[in-house]
Symmetry: C2
Amino acid sequence: VTPDSPLRFGRGGLAEFAGSFEYPGGRAFLVTSEEVARVHGAAIRGAIGSRLLAEIRIDDREEKKTLAAVASILDRAVEAGLRRDDFVVAFGGGVVSDVAGFAAAVLLRGIQWYAVPTTLLAMADASIGGKTAVDHPAGKNLIGAFHSPSGVLIDPDLLDTLPDRQFRSGLVEIYKALLVGDAKGAEAFLGGLEAAARSRDADAPLLAAIRVKEAIVGRDPLERGERRVLNFGHTLGHAIEAFGGYRRFTHGEAVAVGMAVAGVLSAERAGLDAALASEIRRELAAFAKDAVEGADPASPAILRALDLDKKASSRGRAAVLLKAPGKPVLVEDLGPESWLEGLRRVRDGIVL
Amino acid sequence: VTPDSPLRFGRGGLAEFAGSFEYPGGRAFLVTSEEVARVHGAAIRGAIGSRLLAEIRIDDREEKKTLAAVASILDRAVEAGLRRDDFVVAFGGGVVSDVAGFAAAVLLRGIQWYAVPTTLLAMADASIGGKTAVDHPAGKNLIGAFHSPSGVLIDPDLLDTLPDRQFRSGLVEIYKALLVGDAKGAEAFLGGLEAAARSRDADAPLLAAIRVKEAIVGRDPLERGERRVLNFGHTLGHAIEAFGGYRRFTHGEAVAVGMAVAGVLSAERAGLDAALASEIRRELAAFAKDAVEGADPASPAILRALDLDKKASSRGRAAVLLKAPGKPVLVEDLGPESWLEGLRRVRDGIVL
């Protein structure tokens, strides 16, 4: 594991891809999706230039983030004659980078890869930190590897064509990173979710969020301890995602609810200022209104999802709360009932 | 990668398995084969004791060393509720440890594993050094990971039930390790292949061979350079194995021919003493007589296998020759014709 992947950040950066990193000697094996290739295919192929070995397009819906998708990449790579000094370029959202990064981790026992994320969520989260994985019917991300990209290129211009709902989803992960790791950044961003969603400009908080993640991952690349704080809002968030069949709510919508609830529980149990928890709850609940209303705490399905997530979880059993922005704490797993009670209170607008 | 896996070596050691290593806190997920479980199942289950979480038996024929076999292990592990602090125990030959070790590498992004090899080949080779992999239709070991076991337990008593032909196969890998890394051990063992096969006692050369492999792997865990010397005899050996459909010849038989040829080429190109090369050739050719006679250098199939191996190889392009025992050299890949010409000379009994 080499947790620090060189980062190139800047609008228009995609065109400079070929000169951006110290690549190995070989050729580029491009992994992308139909949708991304349709919009940005010419740009990435132009940026890679003559070193392009082959291209494969995978189905990038979450339900296709499977070992079978990895196998199809492996087949295509072997068929193309991939060698040890070739490298993978993952060009797409989080599913593409999770699957392509994992394929790179196991091809010839590990070749280099580069991440060029095309969604705000992947820019803020999936492409940073070397976690790669696919889902198993019994749980998300149960099969994978720690395999850091040798470079990450982030060009916010690529977001111009991103659907609004996806942009909003990414903003939630940025908000999360700032809350757990950058008190000043969080203060500056607080109350700004809707404005950023409308202006479609999140360059500054995005870069700050990436720096938070890089710093935490650098100190704990294998998620033995501190890295778990990045799961703030994700215990309940994952359960809401699963409850919605991974289609009804985006990752960000589900995590926004999870964060609102984690904030409320933080005020109760970890000393987070109640007025601040209330402000966070209000902003996130408004930002992800449909998810707040859709995630019914009385539904047996959501309890089942929480139980299943807990049983199958590879994220450890601790829950993440906040003492203050930038001061996360790990507490003993709270249990499904605490999360559901918190969800009831968020829906009812109660903090303490 | 932690290349130095603690080693426990000794007859009767299996019964002490539970006390042999510093295990993680969880439970043991046992991966073995039908055949091994039939003969030694009670012994390993007794040795693991109350920490046994679940057991899976895989088909351990080389043609079943596939991603599908890994997937079946992953399914069973997830179904059994495997957690991060559980560990895999690979109990069997090389296919079991390659497949189980790879499964451990990708379960929950990597959990610990322990190797308890039951064949001489796996004791001398597969269980040491952290290479795990499965085959792809286009080539051997193309998909895998470097993931060192957290402990290797070698109990030569387990070999009492090993078929003769398998015992002989393992002796060849021992011979190889001594030739490339232990001049004194090689001198002591030279001429002793048949005697060791008959006495069924190879404890001393086995331990010496393991020490050679540990030392080389410790200096080059990811096979960037020196570790390639362990491929001595394997370029042609793999082609002969493939030519025989992985059924006609054992790994050791094919590699014995590959080593005899590499010895002859070493005399010609790397300065190996011709009398010594002749002695090595004679001993190996007699030891693997059927493979020498069966591997027809005029057959288009063997040339195809050499070409395919070269194209699909994940082992790098250098060939390994010997200046002297313990003094391997890497030379530019010799090309199929050199290997076939060498094979002709070995069959005809010509050295220089």
